[in-house]
């Protein structure tokens, strides 16, 4: 139990000699305070959670494509309790949908994306020895881990997991009489999310402090890579909005346990007349979406940051409009706080308030358009190398466009009326979050895998993974637009009700649902390629060189072997911005940030 790392001892400079000590297995792999290890812990946990959530989605997709038909796959995973005779139970369908959404949004895309890459890249790209507080960083991960376990446990209890949708709107989520999942399952959901929020807050504060205080000499804010800008703004969004979700959850908990009436009023449920009077379910929705909308950008900004770096590196060109990119990250971050009402146009909220949110929401399209055009211009006249990371980054830009433009329809309250809560919405946010953000995450894993594990992923398997994923995921989410435009409400166990009033539309929905499910199965199988590649390469992949992608940023100046404190000698000193690719007059097509300006050379 004592994997001693003496070999790194000699590399340390005097600066942190005092805290260097022999590491045990526990302190190195379990309760590690090293940001690189914590980043990897976040990644592996999130990959596992993502797998579970993907499996859940397959289970309910099978029900949607072949409603009421017995399936061995369903009975294998759900057994007689939740899929008697291989047919999914109605309640469990809602439970699967709820937990799928929760895990994907929070555990994979918040914990996994921002947790992993903020941890790994912030100190490495800024030239810092570690996070501002390694201890708090460790706590942040362990809160995340515990909350993951609780969320998974809720799948195995007798009354089933939370079933009110990932947005858990009360009164449905507050009243166990209304649906069985609102009993213990909902309590576990709330406990899990409370711990998750605490962990996320600690993590975000740490990121912010690190970015502001621990930049190395010469690393001014305007020389930071766009990844760091994205993580920085993401962390600020998290700190400002997650506490509001916590307050929503605490009030909901009190309505459930202490008999308060924050969200409940004039309700008769399960034959019981409740006394609660004066509460408003809309209050919950306001609180929820005050987090819920910034959350979309908490998910997306890190992905955009990662892809900026990857596109620039692999196009061998500076990212176009560096300052405009920073400006649009800031603008998106700011605007994301004043648009939450676009989720509530038809909830009974005052229509005038609705029109204010139409205005602010559509404004977000401007910085988003700037980002897209800047990516495209970065490719223009580049010398593009298609690494798997680069392919995923290009996939991200394509899906960001495809998912973004439908947002214009949904943000327009008058048009939202007819498509609100239909599959059109499901298509929109899956293309943005399920494709763009996930592609950003994959791109990041492929690009920084050598930094994380000191070994290379298999490139050919990476290509196979990308192509199956791109075709499969577009095949899943693109036809959903048409299901939604035909009026199909989301979260329906099956659409046979259409038989009673519009048989033609029913047939169309069934056709498309089969296509969607087949693509979903293909895409899911494609992820096995990634899993295999990932775990195989951790142990047996070819050993990486120090700077495999010929990149400019500081993380590629650290040794391949991980050491405490990141740099063996003194910290690097930064002399230039991170995007000097193919600079005229330079010998190589990249110049590390640590290289001083040559005589007569201008900073970009």
């Amino acid at each position: 139990m004592s994997a001693i790392t003496h070999d790194t001892h000699g590399h340390h400079d005097s600066h942190d000699h005092h805290d260097h000590h022999e590491e045990t297995f526990i302190s190195k792999y379990v309760f590690s305070q090293d940001h690189k290890m914590i980043g990897k812990q976040f990644l592996i946990t999130a990959v596992f959670m993502g797998l579970v959530a993907m499996l859940l989605s397959l289970l309910f997709r099978i029900q949607l494509a072949w409603p009421g038909e017995s399936s061995d796959f369903l009975s294998l995973f759900l057994g007689e309790t939740w899929a008697p005779g291989g047919v999914l139970k109605e309640n469990m369908y809602l439970g699967l949908v709820t937990i799928h959404g929760t895990i994907m949004v929070f555990f994979l895309l918040t914990g996994g994306l921002s947790g992993t890459f903020s941890n790994i890249l912030i100190p490495l790209q800024l030239g810092a020895r570690d996070m501002a507080s390694g201890f708090l960083n460790m706590i942040s991960y362990w809160l995340f881990a515990i909350s993951s376990v609780i969320m998974l446990v809720s799948l195995f209890i007798e009354t089933g997991p939370a079933m009110a949708g990932w947005t858990i709107y009360p009164p449905l989520s507050a009243l166990p009489q209304a649906i069985e999942g609102s009993g213990l399952g909902m309590t576990l959901w709330l406990v899990s999310m409370t711990l998750f929020i605490a962990g996320s807050l600690i993590g975000s504060l740490n990121y912010i402090v690190t970015v502001l205080n621990l930049r190395t000499t010469g690393m001014s804010m305007t020389r930071m890579p766009l990844t760091i800008w994205a993580f920085f703004v993401t962390a600020i969004l998290g700190v400002l909005s997650f506490p509001v979700l916590l307050s929503a959850a605490v009030l909901l908990m009190m309505d459930r346990l202490a008999g308060t009436s924050f969200y409940l009023s004039d309700i008769i449920v399960g034959g019981e007349m409740l006394e609660n009077h004066g509460g408003s379910p809309l209050l919950y929705q306001h609180l929820f979406w005050f987090l819920g909308h910034p959350e979309v950008y908490i998910v997306l900004l890190p992905a955009l940051g990662l892809s900026s770096e990857i596109i620039s590196t692999n196009a061998r060109k500076p990212i176009f409009g560096y300052r405009a990119m920073i400006g649009s990250i800031l603008a998106i971050g700011f605007l994301s706080f004043i648009v939450w009402g676009h989720h509530m146009f038809i909830t009974g909220m005052n229509p005038f308030l609705g029109s204010v949110f139409v205005f602010t929401t559509l404004l977000i399209a401007i910085p988003s358009a700037v980002k897209v055009f800047n990516y495209i211009t970065t490719l223009w006249r580049g010398s593009i190398v298609f690494t798997p990371a680069m392919l995923f980054a290009i996939g991200l830009v394509s899906t960001f466009i495809t998912g973004g433009v439908t947002g214009i329809i949904l943000a327009d309250s008058a048009l939202d009326i007819a498509v609100h809560d239909t599959y059109f919405v499901v298509a929109h946010f899956h293309i943005v979050m399920g494709m763009s953000a996930v592609f950003g995450m994959f791109a990041g894993v492929y690009h920084w895998f050598p930094k994380m594990y000191g070994r290379m992923l298999n490139t050919r398997l990476g290509y196979a993974h990308f192509w199956v994923t791109l075709v499969g995921a577009y095949g899943v989410f693109f036809p959903m637009h048409f299901v939604g435009l035909a009026g199909a409400p989301r979260r329906y166990y099956d659409y046979s009700v259409y038989n009673e009033f519009d048989t033609n539309t029913y047939e169309m929905m069934l056709d498309l649902n089969v296509i969607i499910t087949v693509f979903a199965i293909v895409a899911a199988i494609g992820q096995l390629i990634f899993l295999f590649n990932f775990f195989y390469s951790i142990y047996r992949g070819p050993v990486a060189v120090q700077n495999p992608w010929r990149s400019n940023t500081l993380e590629w100046t650290t040794p391949v072997e991980h050491i405490h404190g990141n740099w063996p000698g003194a910290l690097p000193i930064v002399h230039r911005w991170p995007y000097d690719y193919s600079k005229p007059g330079a010998e190589e097509d990249f110049i590390l940030q640590t290289v001083p300006l040559a005589e007569g050379e201008e900073e970009h």
């Binding site: 007349m273 214009i408 309250s413 398997l461």
Partner: protein
Amino acid sequence: MSFKLITIIVIVLGVLAVSQLVRLYELSSKLRNRREEDVTNRDNKLNANLLLAFMIFFYAGFIYLMTEYGWTGRGDAASVHGETTDWLLNLNFVIIIAVFFLTNTLLFGFAWKYVRKPGVKAYFYPHDNKLELIWTVVPAIVLAVIIILGLKTWNGITGDSSKEAIRIELFSKQFDWTARYSGEDNVLGKFDYKLTTQENELALLTSATLDSAIRYMEFGKADSTVLGIKLLENKLNNPKNIFIPEDRMKMETDLDRKTRLLRLLYQMKVRHNAKLDASAYDDILQKDTLHLLKGKEYEISFRAKDVIHSAYFPHLRAQINTVPGQVTRLKVTPTISTKEMRVRKNNPKFNYVLMCNKICGSAHYKMKMIVVIDTPEQYKAWLKSKTTFRDDYLKPATVVSDSTSAVASVGDTTKMGM
């Protein structure tokens, strides 16, 4: 069991096979001295071509789906405002589809064209203020148009309805809808959820419903499935009864709650103005089917009994959530009768529908109501067959049972647990 076994064997063999293939691949790269990060020109070119091929395949798929299913698969809008929003939707679709094609083509096109070529260096081009300005200002102008048109339409849709609008109410609960027509006075009677009994599911407020709600609270159900206050008190105060502490606590809580609700009912009774009874008594209740008159403006208000539901009329392009403790509203003017729509859709069985579109429990997906848009003659004939709330509620049978022991139940327990 055998299925599970076979699955596991297949998975294990699959993993083994792939890992052997990868070993082989790695050995061959080692032999050729190729490193993983060095992307060969062949691989590079292949991926560039695949990106372009994907774009064409993607566009073809999009166009196929559009011709096959249209961009509004719901068919023609059947309401006045629906025609406006459909026009606006089409305009917006033209804009965003143009943007979609333009930007995706540039993206995949550049990715294909500027793939690394031996001897060609990338062009150092860090920024250009003019370009940046163009793609900030042009989207801003387009968005301004979208916003102005959108808000104008929105204000029209959500504004007040005219005085002549026919007032109806839709009442939602797990998992069905009930319509209430305001009757000849075009005024919906008042309601309070505490008045809910089996005979008065919509909790309408009249002197008689108040009295029966009070009786129900005091005496409960005749068959003792629901205990009233009096019986609860008797049971709890009888020293001969011994209860499990849990049961006792439950009964005490129930008693406390009912006592407080009863007090509120008495307060309501004191304040009640019997003149208002008439507006409730002439209301007409209708389950399962909603009849609307073609060409008339409707002011519809919505209530929910238990959880949030959403009233979604896909063909009328109308939707609003129903919220417990709050009344929501919308206005709508149907323009195409059911009969006309059946001809247009070439489907003699087609019907308009009202669906629940907010997750509300296990049978959420079945919670719907058929909507019939009538011509005046049909509407008159239907209306003639209907009885008012007065007829339903004050019919002799109810009065007799009321005077004995207020047979009633809150909620519809038979439908739970579906």
